[in-house]
């Protein structure tokens, strides 16, 4: 059996694991490790939560000046 993957190695593969881009054998080793490791299972889950939360961010509102500038741009375009 190949040497077991350490937690330190696993955390650097998490993005590729989640993206589904790991080669099959490496993916199997990651999954083998996850079965027996609560810390890494939580780490992967935290990464998934991080991605999901980042997707919920809506950026700050526009300042009144920004909005005025953009409206002027729109009205000029419309007239043209």
């Amino acid at each position: 059996m190949a040497e077991l993957m350490t937690c330190k190695e696993l955390v650097e593969l998490v993005t590729e694991y989640i993206e589904g881009t790991l080669p099959y054998d490496v993916r199997m080793r990651v999954e083998q490790h996850l079965v027996g490791c609560e810390g890494c299972t939580n780490y992967v889950e935290q990464m998934r939560q991080t991605i999901q939360l980042t997707g919920q961010i809506r950026e700050e509102n526009l300042s009144p000046e920004q909005k005025d500038d953009l409206l002027k741009l729109f009205r000029d375009w419309k007239r043209a």
Binding site: E12, T15, C37, Q46, Q49, E59, N61, L73
Partner: protein, 212 residues
Amino acid sequence: MNASVDEASLLNSLRAGDESAFVWLVEQYHATLVRLARLFVSDEPTAEELAQETWLAVLQGLERFQHRSSLKTWIFTILANKAKTRSQREKRTIAFSDLDDPASDSPTVDPDRFKPASEGVWAGHWVEGPIQWREIPEDSLLHDETMKVILQAIDLLPGTQRAVITLRDMQELSTDEVCNILGITETNQRVLLHRARAKVRQALEEYLQPEH
């Protein structure tokens, strides 16, 4: 694009000159355009200007827009092209792909969190593993706080990582779209994304640890 907004009807409204459709669009994307523009140009006013030029190009190109990509991807592509042209004109000829990302092969998790080699078979395993985060509250002040923690962490990232996580995870574009917009390889994109996510996770970990 927000799933609740139908892109075709949005485009029709824009083409018909509906101001509220335009306002909706700039509220969705203007801040992100300025954020991305800042990567290529030296100051905030120039970034703002680039974002405005992008909107004008969007309006002028509406008739020609072919749906080969989503409207959102098309807008970001226009911005990236304008930004590259501009930074060349300013003689800042650094291509995005050359922007240096310091220490891109250093570990993304503090090595002290793992047992040292002296621990034999346990070397490289967590000293104290990550735990389950306390429940993340929805639709509350605390939820807004969580979002702020993420945005602050993103703002502290090196520019290239910030661009990739903004487009991939905030704007939810695909790997291919991000590689095209930024002119980077898939491998490079994945490395930058990995480092960016790891730092945001760490910021969240500090914030979301269950109370002791």
